[in-house]
């Protein structure tokens, strides 16, 4: 496999993880809540693609988006809103519980068997096919991932910089109490952030489901864990650094995985040990730059008093 091929695939995965990182970072910004259940929002959206097999692709995707937004808002209303003043550990464990709940509900409903995405002739499922450019085999879904990432990031940047609600979201992320004192409505800002994160979850769900061709009760779980790691490594205090962190961990996972040899049982010598290589990198970065790889310089993390 050529290096350019590996590079393109890595950018594709980085784009998906970047989308998820934005979703997680937006909610963290306004709520200071690390949403572990984000993966199950993705799972729910991905099951909608199975559920709507035979429907036009646009309708399927729309249902997935609606489902993800609905699930996110319900989570916010039922759990996050009551936990706003709780300790970070309580908030995190509450999202574990939600995640566990949704996984097991999916398990009850759909069992362990994986479900294929869409009908085999549908355009959506067909995006898994590759296009040949010279010696490169690039799946259409890789282009879709990169395109979706670019369009979403642009739209989001416009929203945050050019609209009132965007300004309010940035203000809330910087200092929630002062923002409220200045007339920013907490519930509106939080629900907007949660809804946008739901839309992004649905987009990530479509790409992940099409790439893996199936949906299971574990869809989105391992990806979310990696993105959470990436977001903290990048710097969770700012949306941009969190997004770059998500992109970086997706990129690194895919690229290092392609470059490591396939064979070898001694630790760190083959792609079986890919997680170890990535996590060693994570630890090194955190030790050198605890506030995040892409955090602004001069923002040394202090013990939160």
């Amino acid at each position: 496999m050529s290096h350019i091929q590996a590079l393109l695939d890595a950018i594709g995965l980085g784009a998906v993880y970047g989308l998820m990182a934005v979703g997680i970072g937006l909610v963290f910004g306004v709520l200071r809540l690390v949403n572990f259940a984000y993966g199950q929002v993705i799972m729910l959206a991905a099951y909608m693609l199975v559920f709507t097999t035979g429907w036009p692709d646009v309708a399927s995707i729309l249902v997935a988006v609606l489902m993800a937004v609905f699930a996110s808002l319900v989570m916010e209303r039922v759990a996050f809103r009551r936990l706003r003043t709780s300790s970070p550990a309580t908030m995190l464990v509450a999202t574990f519980a939600i995640s566990y709940l949704l996984q097991n509900l999916a398990l009850l409903r759909y069992t362990y068997h994986s479900r294929p995405v869409g009908d085999s002739v549908g355009t959506l499922a067909g995006l898994i096919n590759a296009v040949q450019i010279g010696s490169l085999h690039i799946r259409w879904i890789t282009f879709v991932a990169i395109g979706t990432g670019l369009v979403s990031f642009t739209l989001l940047a416009l929203l945050l910089k050019r609209t009132t609600i965007g300004l309010q979201m940035r203000a809330a992320a910087a200092d929630f109490r002062t923002a409220r004192l200045l007339g920013v409505r907490a519930d509106t800002v939080i629900m907007t952030a949660v809804a946008i994160s739901g839309v992004l979850a649905a987009l990530a769900a479509v790409i992940l489901a099409v790439s893996s061709t199936v949906v299971t009760y574990q869809t989105g779980l391992s990806e979310t864990i990696l993105v959470l790691v990436g977001v903290v490594v990048g710097g969770i205090d700012r949306l941009l650094s969190a997004t770059l962190g998500g992109f970086a961990i997706g990129f690194a996972t895919s690229f290092v995985g392609a470059e490591l040899p396939n064979q070898g049982t001694t630790p760190f010598t083959s792609n079986q040990y890919l997680p170890s290589v990535i996590y060693i990198g994570v630890i090194v970065v955190l030790l050198l730059r605890p506030a995040g790889l892409f955090a602004r310089r001069g923002q040394a993390p202090v013990e939160r008093v």
Partner: protein
């Protein structure tokens, strides 16, 4: 230690709860609930070990199951009889393949390896705090799992390690109960010690603690090491109680479940750790007894697997109603009525 009314309830309450649990378990140990009561007693040891660091320091660690894992695998590996080991685990390093040790010494070995691993990992990592510390400890878990799963020279790899030498179910359960009590006593002695109090002071107010001359990094490191040793020990109890272990038993599910138990009980008290574990375990036991019990027509009201959904709902409701856990992070004490007022 002179003020009996101050410290006795703090130690006695968790001990009494564990003894009660063991007595209930001894009545039903041969029945269908066997496995779940085993889970409960091992979980107590693991959650209390986790509490020693998380509860006293206030820093959430996702890495503790790594110490449980190395403890469990070293205790398990070293008690597989050396005459069968070369046959079932041909890839092992020679010194692992040809030696075996007894039950009690394997538990000490598990504690030693867990503690040593925590110390080595903790020296750099304990400089971090908050989310960075959480993610860094999670990275340790990822690395531990990955290496244990693929490096067949130090263990069974992705296979299940079985043939671990164990006794009768009753003696094993007794060993696990006594072991869990030992972990509780260690946690109690630590939190009452000078170091434990220093760390708790740093948890409440890091700036003031530092100003009072407390070396936060060092205190966190001691707690992390002790907690790692107790986790390794708990891993040893785990492997002897079940007689087998797979890397998937000591990975994400156990990490999240034990953390949830701790937070549900109340993460800053020893009583909270024990109460949370017993509460979640009992809910699991009851709900799974109700699965497939009642039917409407031929459809079960609670089909197989619904107990997991129930456990998640119970945990969520407890956290929403009592965000600081069932015990509110307090110990049981008569201090209010006693001399310390």
């Amino acid at each position: 230690m002179k003020d009996v009314r101050g410290w006795l309830p703090e130690l006695a309450a968790p001990v009494v709860l564990v003894v009660l649990l063991a007595l209930i378990a001894s009545q039903v140990l041969s029945g269908g609930d066997d496995v779940k009561f085993r889970n409960a007693i091992v979980s107590i040891a693991i959650v209390v070990a986790l509490y020693v660091f998380v509860g006293n320091s206030g820093v959430v660690s996702f890495g503790h199951v790594s110490f449980v894992a190395v403890g469990a695998f070293s205790a398990g590996l070293m008690t597989v009889p050396s005459d069968v080991k070369p046959g079932v685990l041909p890839d092992l390093f020679g010194f692992l393949k040809h030696h075996s040790i007894g039950n009690a010494s394997s538990l000490l070995l598990a504690a030693a390896i867990g503690g040593a691993y925590a110390l080595v990992v903790g020296i750099p990592l304990m400089r971090l705090s908050g989310l960075s510390a959480g993610i860094a400890t999670f990275a340790v878990l990822g690395i531990t799992y990955n290496i244990l799963r693929y490096w067949t020279r130090i263990g069974p790899g992705a296979e299940t390690l079985s043939l671990v030498d164990n006794g009768s179910p009753t003696t094993d359960y007794l060993q696990a109960t006594v072991g869990a009590l030992a972990v509780i006593v260690a946690a109690f002695l630590y939190q009452r010690s000078r170091w434990g109090r220093q760390l708790r002071a740093a948890r409440e107010d890091p700036a003031a603690a530092q100003a009072a001359g407390i070396d936060i990094h060092r205190q966190r490191l001691w707690a992390f090491t002790l907690s790692g040793a107790l986790s390794g020990f708990a891993g040893g109890l785990f492997v002897h109680l079940y007689g087998s272990i797979n890397t998937n038993d000591v990975y994400l599910d156990l990490t999240f479940l034990t953390l949830a138990m701790l937070v549900v009980g109340g993460m800053s008290s020893l009583l909270g750790a024990v109460v949370g574990t017993i509460a979640v375990s009992l809910v699991q036991i009851w709900l799974s007894d109700w699965e497939n019990k009642w039917h409407i027509g031929s459809t079960a009201i609670l089909p197989g697997g619904s107990s997991y959904v129930g456990v998640a709902i119970v945990m969520l409701v407890v956290l929403l109603v009592r965000p600081s856990g069932i015990t509110g992070g307090r110990e049981l004490g008569f201090g209010r009525f006693g001399r310390r007022g």
